[in-house]
């Protein structure tokens, strides 16, 4: 895991062409190999933050850096950083296996190797038997799994997930969360997970960054150790409640 960079975000601000200020002086750090959740209301700038981290949008000021363990900056190359967007973004004419293998194909990996690697992540994402289906033949939850598998296929060191569960039901979300957890533990990638769900954040994250109105409101370190993250336990609901309270404060509906 030592080769995974930390992601350091310093004083990041972003004014969109429309004049909307999507981010104001946002600072936080994603631990190397850690899983950080970003939580906040719609429109608070979460997607913008992730897009800047991925190099798809530019910050107006401030910066995001990927730092190696020795403190040197690591310029992120294609394939080392992977994004799973809010929508699955699959090519409708490609079978699942060819959608998953796309990043490898674009990186010039040969047919045989990329199919083998795609099949391995398809298995890890719980999509066995769906290899030769087209996206139109899959449920919403399965499409998100395909998108997740595609993000993982290059074995990235930084993984950015933008509300991967927002379009699926609670039942599928829990299953997908198990998948995300396993995948993160297997890969050890430095992961940023944008979510709306407090229980999802508590279940998956080491740290929870609570955002509001384009700013970081507070950062919550999840006190539960990984082994005891049982959704049905008392400790788990207490932790959820704690984060809920921070959220309520951020939303201004209770006084701290």
């Amino acid at each position: 895991m030592s080769d995974k960079p930390a992601v350091v975000c310093e004083g990041l601000s972003c004014t969109l062409p429309s004049g909307v200020q999507a981010l104001r002086d946002v600072s936080f750090r994603l631990q190397a190999g850690g899983l950080t959740a970003i939580i906040g209301p719609s429109g608070c700038g979460k997607t913008t933050l992730l897009r800047i981290a991925a190099g798809l949008a530019r910050a107006t000021s401030g910066r995001i850096q990927f730092l190696r363990r020795d403190g040197s900056a690591d310029p992120i190359r294609a394939g080392h950083l992977a994004v799973c967007f809010q929508d699955a973004r699959l090519l409708p004419w490609r079978k699942v296996v060819d959608n998953v293998a796309l990043p490898l194909e674009l990186a010039g990996v040969g047919r045989r190797e990329r199919v083998a690697r795609a099949e391995a992540v398809i298995h890890a994402a719980g999509l066995d038997g769906a290899q030769s289906r087209l996206p139109a033949q899959l449920s919403g939850g399965m499409r998100m799994r395909v998108a997740l598998a595609r993000a993982l296929v290059t074995d990235p060191t930084v993984l950015l997930l933008d509300e991967p569960c927002s379009s699926v039901d609670e039942f599928t979300r829990m299953q997908l969360d198990e998948e995300i957890l396993r995948v993160w533990q297997d890969s050890g990638a430095t992961t940023m997970l944008v979510t709306h769900s407090v229980s999802e954040a508590v279940f998956l994250a080491d740290e929870i960054v609570i955002m509001r109105r384009a700013r970081v409101h507070s950062i919550h370190r999840v006190a539960l150790d990984r082994a005891s993250r049982d959704r049905t336990s008392h400790a788990f609901s207490q932790e959820v409640e704690l984060v809920m309270r921070s959220l309520a404060v951020a939303a201004g509906v209770v006084v701290p």
């Binding site: 991925a54 190099g55 798809l56 190359r77 294609a78 394939g79 950083l81 992977a82 994004v83 967007f85 929508d87 973004r89 090519l91 409708p92 004419w93 796309l102 990043p103 194909e105 674009l106 990186a107 087209l134 996206p135 139109a136 033949q137």
Partner: protein, 267 residues
């Protein structure tokens, strides 16, 4: 392939309508006693076509070659040109509006120019066919490419794909539904263009195309033969249109959720 047979039925329905109209026509001509010089009966047209089948078949082949070649050139130039124009903003602002205006020039007026440039015969018919058919392909390609999903483009940007790679693996396949719409229009236009080209440049003899058959028959006041040749040119257009429609449908159908319910029910 249940949906394919549905598509076939869609194509068969207008054929049946043609049959009904032919019967009504026949009855109307007999009932009113119109001179066959003005309006021959469908059966008389059929008889004439049968008696001249060898000549008409050869003419149809000639015209089909011109239309098909024109269509192929229009498809190639339309897709390449459209892709270049869509990719280069300066061209999109300059050439595209210009092409829209040029497209409004009546072909019949321009066709003689092709005779000057290309001489009499097949090349002029092909050129005329390509020129009328290219615009809908060009416009459809540009429309298709401009509406490629931005989110999908980001997937390619993240992977560091070149413009050329993205065009091959994303832009072009994603534009196929739009391009197919353009090709269906171009299919009909390519036959019209070929016939107009033949009017001005074709010559008689063993390899006379349909355009020349029509002109000759008109001069000889053989109305039934004019109708026969016109019917055959319509059939060339119809077949081309049908083939393009079926190919387009086969390519695109499986992408959409509409194909899903059926596939899942069968399972």
């Amino acid at each position: 392939m249940k949906r394919l047979s549905e598509k076939m039925r869609e194509i068969a329905a207008p054929l049946i309508a043609v049959g009904v109209i032919a019967v009504a026509w026949e009855v109307a001509v007999i009932a009113t006693g119109v001179s066959p010089l003005l309006l021959p009966r469908p059966t008389a047209i059929g008889q004439t076509m049968w008696m001249n089948s060898e000549m008409l078949l050869s003419a149809t082949v000639q015209t089909a070659i011109a239309a098909l070649s024109g269509f192929a050139i229009a498809t190639t130039l339309g897709i390449i040109g459209g892709s270049v124009i869509a990719a280069v903003p300066v061209l999109r602002r300059s050439i595209y509006p210009l092409a829209t205006i040029v497209q409004m020039v009546p072909l019949v007026a321009v066709a003689p120019l092709f005779v000057i440039w290309l001489g009499f015969g097949l090349p002029t018919a092909i050129a005329a066919s390509a020129v009328v058919a290219v615009f809908p392909v060009l416009a459809a390609t540009i429309d298709g490419l401009r509406s490629v999903d931005h989110g999908l483009r980001e997937i390619f940007a993240l992977a560091g794909a070149s413009t050329w790679t993205r065009w091959r693996k994303l832009d072009l396949p994603a534009s196929i539904p739009a391009i197919m719409t353009g090709l269906r229009i171009a299919a009909g236009l390519s036959v019209i263009g070929a016939i107009v080209g033949e009017f001005v440049s074709g010559y008689g003899g063993a390899h006379a195309p349909l355009g020349i058959v029509v002109m000759t028959a008109m001069r000889e006041a053989r109305t039934d033969l004019v109708f026969g040749a016109v019917a055959l040119s319509a059939i060339v257009g119809f077949v081309l249109f049908g083939v393009v429609s079926i190919v387009g449908w086969l390519l695109v159908n499986r992408w959409h959720a509409s194909g899903q319910s059926e596939m899942e029910i069968r399972r």
